[in-house]
């Protein structure tokens, strides 16, 4: 049985790849298929995976603000809040941002550099 973390990742991959909102049942079937595709045999993940597990994973993702569900329909249909690219951009925004209170969150190899600095470094690179 895959860990919740791995399942969260698999579910997000499916939601990011899919065009429209999906129900927990659809996601369960897709997860079962993707296991099958990877190793050729019906993976135990697919067989053991209960819809309730998928729902647990979805509610965890919802709590993290990564998926939202359409409230009107039953069964609920889930979709990603933002695209993979948007989330990557959010991360990079945090990495490259330069607010003083954010500098303590992580340590960059290189901070932001000015244009003249970048030019000097480029020259350096040409000579070395």
């Amino acid at each position: 049985m895959a860990s919740l973390g791995e399942l969260e990742r698999a579910v997000m991959d499916l939601l990011w790849a899919g065009q429209e909102a999906a129900t927990a049942n659809t996601l369960r079937d897709l997860l079962a298929q993707s296991t099958l595709r990877q190793d050729g045999t019906p993976g135990h993940q697919g067989k053991d995976l209960a819809v309730t597990t998928v729902l647990t994973v979805l509610s965890r993702l919802e709590r993290k603000g990564l998926v939202e569900r359409e409230r009107g329909t039953r069964p609920h249909r889930y979709q990603a809040v933002s695209s993979r690219a948007d989330h990557t951009a959010e991360l990079m925004h945090e990495v490259l941002g330069s607010a003083p209170d954010r500098e303590a969150v992580l340590a960059r190899f290189i901070g932001s550099v000015t244009d003249t600095e970048a030019e000097t470094l480029r020259k350096l690179l040409g000579n070395s």
């Binding site: 951009a89 990079m92 925004h93 340590a107 290189i110 550099v113 244009d115």
Partner: protein, 329 residues
């Protein structure tokens, strides 16, 4: 007692303005970053102590001939409803200010901790979904971003170093090793604790010159310390080249610095006073490269010992002024 509060006030002002300004202009910190780091920590700690101490001592002056006696008398007044007629308006004002400043510093420290932890948790959650494990080491992940980016996200056992696809493509294996050692040093030397303390110090008193200068200096000292560790295993040329490639690939202009083609980055915490952050880290990169290009010998043993002695003295002075009974009064 009366002169003690003046001496502490003079010390507090010296540590808040002229001393950090001079230290931030000095060239020797690049030669011995560890010693300089200790001095910056001492300046912050002694500065805070003498600020609070000056007000406490002034306020307690009528009721005790040292801090302990004064505090005991004050506690007696508060707890047993004894008459406070000995304390004038300015004494009570100074005591309240000391209490408020102490509470403000402690509260900001905790609040900053909470904010940093929250942002790191969110960042880690997204990394769990977006990044894939790297072959280059445990606790190293790769994220699919075209510009060369490397950073580490501290968090105890869940600390992680993040590299971008662009970085992996741009660097030779030796250069990549240098980057990894550099980032790993931040984690093993627990630089995030320093970053936290100085971010909180600046957040608490943003208008004080010392807090901004200290944060910028500490940011650049930890980079130098991490560079020095990388130089133990990788050559200087390798490290310089890695710095140059990463820096030239990530221009600091806010527009179009990411090769995403994704319009408009989501704004997080827009409107933070971030104007000085960029120039500060640009200076850091410049001083890092210049110290690698034209290396200076570390400070002589005697000078380093003198700086350490100065650190001890700076911490001992406000403490002694507060505790030794009737030392100056």
């Amino acid at each position: 007692m009366f002169w003690t509060s003046y001496l502490l006030a003079v010390l507090a002002i010296a540590l808040a303005w002229p001393v950090p300004v001079l230290l931030s202009r000095a060239h020797w910190p690049a030669r011995s970053p560890f010693t300089a780091m200790l001095l910056w920590q001492t300046i912050a700690l002694a500065g805070g102590l003498s600020m609070i101490g000056a007000m406490l001592v002034y306020g307690l002056e009528p009721i005790g001939d040292n801090l302990l006696a004064g505090l005991t008398a004050l506690a007696g007044m508060v707890l047993h409803d004894a008459p406070t007629t000995e304390l004038g308006f300015w004494h009570i004002f100074a005591l309240s200010a000391a209490a408020l400043l102490t509470a403000h510093l402690v509260f900001t420290l905790l609040l900053t901790y909470y904010k940093i932890q929250r942002q790191r948790r969110r960042h880690r959650e997204l990394l769990d979904l977006l990044a894939s494990p790297s072959a280059d080491g445990a606790r190293t992940v790769v994220i699919s971003v075209d510009s060369p980016v490397a950073y580490c996200l501290p968090g105890g056992a869940r600390s992680v170093t993040v590299l971008s696809d662009g970085l992996m493509a741009a660097l030779e294996p030796a250069e990549l090793r240098a980057v990894l050692i550099h980032e790993n040093t931040h984690l093993t030397q627990r630089h995030h604790l320093l970053l936290w303390a100085f971010a909180a110090w600046r957040q608490a008193l943003p208008w004080l010159p010392t807090t901004r200068l200290a944060q910028e200096a500490v940011n650049s000292m930890i980079e130098m310390l991490a560079d020095d560790v990388a130089l133990k295993t990788e050559s200087k040329a390798t490290l310089i080249k890695a710095i140059a490639i990463v820096a030239s690939g990530s221009p600091g202009a806010p527009e179009g610095r990411l090769a995403f083609g994704e319009p408009g980055l989501p704004e997080i915490d827009a409107g933070q006073p971030g104007a000085t952050g960029g120039t500060g880290s640009a200076r850091t990169t410049a001083s890092r490269v210049s110290r690698l290009l034209s290396p200076q010998p570390p400070l002589p043993e005697a000078l380093r010992a003198a700086v350490l002695a100065a650190c001890l003295l700076l911490l001992a002075l406000p403490t002694a002024l507060l505790i030794v009974p009737g030392l100056l009064g």
